[in-house]
Symmetry: C2
């Protein structure tokens, strides 16, 4: 079986299976993006989380434990209020931590080039920790990830270590991050749709001479500033925050420009 046929088979198989997550369905904030991707020949999503605030209870002996062995005291994909966290914390008897986890989306891609295109759009939309995995059987997966997290220990052996005022302050930050994460998802959706539309126009005029292939919407931009990339997709909205740069202050021999 050739690679394209094999990819089609994987895709059909994957999309026909039941959703195996705890929740059993795709998160609301990422449904449109997932549908847009699954509706296109070269992509299908294999797992997704739109972004969430979670409260986990840890081991009472102070050892770090695997996430699946932690007790999930609270999970929400919507902005969170103090009273819900306070109530959930009452059930903690270990080391509870509050986390904001941004979008994580795994997309299987037909070939490396398809992954490169989507990777470029993801980075331009602010998902700076995205990366490609190529398996030994050639399966090509793009993980779309952001650097935009929060991880805060709140209690030790069941004893709350912070004030209610701090929890309120913390949730304001977590909710802001959730809002910004949502904007990035919308940005990625719009950039992808924009790129796909351009591709459709190009495909519907096969006999027209394309003077400069580098001018296609898929061309990787030199500057990784999401504001700039964003302005190419939607100009009305004002973006306040740029992605944190996790390369800053680290030992740089030289980072090749536009690698």
């Amino acid at each position: 079986m050739d690679r394209t046929a094999e990819f089609r088979r994987w895709k059909a198989q994957c999309l026909s299976k039941a959703d195996l997550s705890r929740k059993g369905s795709v998160d609301e904030d990422v449904v449109e993006l997932v549908q847009l991707l699954n509706g296109r020949e070269p992509y299908f999503t294999t797992s997704s989380c739109a972004g969430r605030i979670i409260l986990l209870d840890g081991d009472i002996n102070g050892f770090e434990v695997q996430k699946q062995n932690r007790c999930w005291l609270l999970v929400t994909h919507k902005p969170c209020v103090k009273d819900d966290v306070i109530a959930a914390l009452k059930k903690a008897n270990g080391d509870a931590i509050l986390k904001f986890e941004p979008l994580i989306l795994h997309v299987q891609c037909r070939q490396l080039q398809d992954a490169q295109i989507l990777h470029s759009l993801a980075i331009d939309s602010g998902f700076r920790n995205s990366g490609i995995t190529v398996g030994k059987r050639g399966k090509t997966m793009l993980a779309i990830r952001s650097t935009h997290g929060l991880e805060v220990p709140l209690s030790r052996k069941g004893k709350l270590m912070v004030t209610e005022e701090y929890i309120e302050f913390l949730l304001k930050i977590a909710n802001q991050k959730m809002e910004e994460n949502k904007k990035r998802i919308e940005r990625l959706y719009n950039c992808l749709q924009h790129a796909l539309e351009k591709e459709n126009i190009t495909n519907s005029r096969p006999k027209e001479k394309i003077k400069d292939k580098n001018k296609s919407s898929y061309t990787r931009k030199k500057k990784r500033n999401p504001e700039e990339a964003h302005s190419k997709c939607f100009t009305e909205e004002n973006v306040k925050e740029r992605e944190n740069d996790d390369d800053l202050g680290i030992s740089v021999t030289i980072f090749p420009e536009d690698y």
Copy 2:
């Protein structure tokens, strides 16, 4: 110029340049790994940070700001004590946050296959957020990253929002994470050295018939449990913590086994 010659040129150029980081040198905990990689034909590192605890002061107006515009109150690549953080916090007049950032290492690779090998070793060593980037000119970069962070807001508009006892508790966790991060770096170093030794043995016996290529040390393991991978590299040490699984609880249509 063919791809291999071009890669050699990039590598020579990169390694001859000055270190452009704030610090001006490679962090102690990652020097051996960087040297091991740079000493091998298919790799060179372009930037690195071994892992650090940082205290950043934010914008006094409460807006999120770019990391380069934040004031760096404290940076350390060693375990950190409460008094240093308390002293540094006195200089904060915005929203100060304490972060633990694990290893980040960018490695340019000769070709995709070289990146796949190193990616596999990185994931087996616990660096689950690693990923490949392929640029439009074919430059192939592996970013080695961990999920193992910490990000804790400490003050609002210069006012400390937590107790000194909490800071002590927090630093204990940050220092533990730094210790675990160091173990993972050692694990990756050992796994890489082990893989390279096997490759050398194979290369030094070119006429011997290799019965099963899939048995090479570079073969991607089915199970992604770093403890298991680790036990193949060094058996003496007891590893307490497994990597958090950031796929847990998220919407999973189906994640292809061993993609």
